[in-house]
Structure formats: C-alpha cells, structure tokens
C-alpha cells in the first residue's frame, strides 16, 4: 500500500500540525483538516478533544461525509462553552485563508475596502479572537499567488508582525502553528517570523512553490513532507473518509 494521493499527503501534513498538542481541543475546519485532525488522534495524539461539528465532544473516530455516524459523546460543548475553550487557550484551530501573507496575517473577511467590499467573504468570524488567544494554523487547498499575497486586503487573523506591534504582553498567547497547502507545509520559525518552507509534498519542487507564492519565502534545507504509513492509509480510506471526499478538495 505504498501508493498514495496528494490529498492523503495533505491529510498527514495536517495531522502533523497537531503533533505534541496533548489534551487540548483540536478544531480543524474544512474537509482535509477534519480528516487530518481525526487521523492525528487515532494515531499519535490520543488525548486530543474533538467536536462532532456541532455541540458534542466525541471520543470515537468519526467518519466525514456520512449521514448520522456513530458518536461516542464524552461532553456537551454548546457554542457558549466554545468561547470558554477559546479564551482559556486550550485549543488549536486550523482555519481556511482566502489570503495569507508573509507574516501569517489571514484574510477571510472581504476583498477590497471593508466599508464597501468588492467581494464580501465570510467576515471576521472567530479569527481575531482565535489568533490572539491560542494556536492557529491554516489550510489552503489551492496554493497560488492570489492566496499567498504580499499584503492581505483585511487582517482577520493576526500575523507575527501585527502581534509584535502589540508588544509581548498583549500577544503572549499568539502563535501561528503552520500553514498546510496542497504543495507543502510552511511555518514561521525564522528570526523575524517570516514564512519559510518547512517541507515540500512528494512530487512538488521548491521552484514550483516559489512560483506559486506572491512574496519571498525563506528557503533552506527543505525536506519532503512525511508520507502516509500503511496504518495512516487504512484509517483514511476505510475509517475516516470512506467516500473519498478528500479528493474533491485536493484533486490528484
């Protein structure tokens, strides 16, 4: 079972984003992130706490895209309690990003001037509160210069330059974990917290990533993203995503 798809590599890259998190709430938003988060818990991060997408915390490994799946409910977590989780910091969210810049500022709000936007997107949603209170990572299924931009139109999620302006006290809970895209994994582990390539997915070159990115990336000793193990592939294909919804988000 050594053959795998790009979507499956992305799932594993998402799972790796939650490595070391321990007993906190993992809140991956989107199809590939949900599969990856559940894979992380089913393999190397068994203590992660995860929702059913609504008001319940579930202990079992739920499939995605299946009507009325079995749920082993371990706690009740209505939206009001969710904000307690966010503000207490016991959470790692992986959000989408219509735009993300060199310092990890995220935009899901709008394109153009916020007062009269060219395109209204989702709005600020939970991004300001998430990014200032706990670890936030991002998932981008369509890596391109339109997404990886020099400056985002609206800062919904706070990046490292904005956090630095706030000073060490206000920003003490701010951390951008990583950005996982369909081409590679990116983090901010550089002296000035500018984005660097952490790993490239198998079959992707650094040049391809640089060409698909609208700002200068830090590039040094880039390894390949971990490939799925046989156990990963069995869990992904048979348990977590039996209908292969992942392929609609990341085509092969």
């Amino acid at each position: 079972m050594s053959e795998f798809t790009r979507a499956e590599v992305c799932v594993v890259a998402v799972a790796e984003a939650f490595r070391g998190d321990g007993e906190i709430m993992a809140n991956p938003i989107g199809t590939v992130p949900m599969i990856g988060g559940r894979l992380a818990r089913a393999t190397f991060e068994p203590d992660l706490v995860m929702t059913d997408g609504e008001a319940m915390l579930v202990r079992n490994t739920m499939p995605v895209g299946v009507d009325d799946p079995h749920r082993e409910i371990e706690a009740w977590n209505p939206y009001r309690s969710m904000f307690d989780v966010v503000w207490s910091g016991r959470r790692h969210v992986m959000m989408g990003a219509t735009q993300v810049d060199r310092f990890g500022n995220q935009n899901i709000g709008c394109i153009g001037d916020w007062r009269k936007p060219k395109a209204q997107l989702l709005g600020f949603r939970g991004a300001p509160g998430n990014t200032i209170n706990h670890v936030t990572s991002y998932w981008v299924p369509n890596h391109s210069p339109k997404v990886f931009v020099e400056h985002v139109d609206l800062v919904t999620g706070v990046g490292y330059d904005r956090a630095a302006e706030l000073g060490p006290d206000a920003a003490r809970y701010h951390r951008i974990g990583c950005v996982v895209s369909n081409l590679g994994v990116f983090d901010f582990e550089t002296p000035d917290h500018a984005m660097r390539i952490r790993s490239v997915h198998p079959g992707v070159t650094v040049d391809e990533i640089v060409a698909a990115t609208g700002f200068e990336l830090t590039v040094a000793d880039v390894p390949e993203t971990r490939t799925p193990t046989d156990e990963d592939l069995t869990l992904i294909r048979d348990v977590i995503d039996p209908n292969d919804i992942r392929a609609s988000e990341v085509p092969s």
Partner: protein
Amino acid sequence: MSEDDVVAELRDGMTIGIGGWGSRRKPMSLVRAILRSPLRDLTVVAYGGPDIGLLCATGKVKKAVYGFVSLDSIPLEPHFRAARQNGTIEAMELDEGMFLLGLQAAAWRMPFLPTRAGLGSDLVRVMPELKTVRSPYDDGEELVAMPALKLDVALIHMNRATADGNGQFLGPDPYFDDLFCYAADRAFMSCERVVPTDRLLDHGTFHTLRISRLMVNGVVEAPGGAHFTSCTPDYERDEAFQKEYAATARDPEAWGAFRGRYLDLGSEAEYHDAVRATAGATP
C-alpha cells in the same frame, strides 16, 4: 399573540435582536411578519442567517450587527453578501466571541466588557467606534472594550413554551437566546407548540428549560415557525428550499418570483400553503 401582534409592537428605526444561529432555530415566522409590514430602517443584531438576508433583500435594514451571516450548508448568506457589496446597509462586523460579550454586557447593564479579541486585527481599525480600555491593575494591559449591544426588542424561537413565557430548547444547543432576551427591553418568543407548565418535562429534562417568563413579554404559537431553518428535533433544515432561496440572490427576476410566491402574502398560513405546494410539485 399572533406574529402580526408582535410586529404591531415594533417601530421604524428600532434595534432588533434575533436569536438562533446561522440557519438554525430562527424565529422566521416573526421575520416574515416584519417583511409583510411597512417597518423600515431597522438595526438587526444576530448570529445571522436568512433572517438578516431576507431583511436586507427586502430593504428593511439600515444597519446589520453580526458575528457572521451564514446559511451553514452555504457558508455565506448570498442576499446579505449582495447588500454589503451594493453598499445598501451599514455594518458592524464582529468577532463571534465579541458579539457574545456585547450581548452579555447589555444583559448585565454594563457599558462594555473587556476582551483580547480584536487586538492586532483590522477589526478595530475599520470600525473606529470600537475603543480600547486599559486595565487599572498592575498588568496595565490594553484591551478591546466591546460595547453593550442594547436591544429594543428580541425575537427568539423555541421548541416548546408555556403561554406565560417559559421556553424550552430540545435541540443540541441553546445558542444565545437567553442573552438576547436579557439584552432587550422587551422579548417575544415564538414556539413550535404551547404546552401547559406541568407538561414541560414530558419533552426534555429540566436542563432544557433555558428561557424563563422573567425574560419574555409575549408568546406566539408557530408550528413550522423556524422554516426553512432547522428546528431539531421537530424538523431539520429544508435544504431544497434554502437552495432555491439562495439561488435568487444572483437574479432579480428569480428573486421577484420567489418574493411573489412566498413572501408577499397575507399571512404565515399562506406561506406554509405555498411551501407545501412546492414540495408536492417536486417529489
């Protein structure tokens, strides 16, 4: 009360909070009654769904205050998007948690509640009406002062209620309906079914009795009143109808037809007749 009795209590320019969340357990029969009325220049405050979308599309909204406006299965409410892009409404677009604090501040009669949410983001830059406050304690931290979201009226929809204003949710989440009620001068509650007080616990445990008559000024029995949003376990969202509604945002002609068929009617009963006729026609 009837839906029209509730609307008779509303005035042009009022600030109206609407309970529920996205396209879930929205007091849609009360919203539809507003659509049938001449009311205008409303400020609508909600974790928005088709309530805000419909009120925008029919020109009832002066300003929308929201944590988001979503149809859940369709992430962005298309009629709301059109209103924002056409510049026909004013907006106060909040972080979802800040929105909760605004309601909580109003409910507790506080001018604001402090939070870190918003710091460093463009939220406080594009909305200069949001101010910061410095902690008076040793930390001296600067925080966002989320202002109270004071409401003239709150509208909520529950699964069961008593005629004198106790409300029960039977789905997975109470959302913030109790806070909307406390944040408002007056609150009106529609429900799927009115039951006698001594029958409330037939339907769910005492934990589900989230709304007390302390918070509520009038009750409307409105079976199907949340349609087309979900009202579990009584019914799920009507996804087919929602899709039809959402598709009309791109096409003025389709919107006109939708409006004529479902909204420009004489009563809530006629709305349900029209929905049944459509459902019967498309197996």
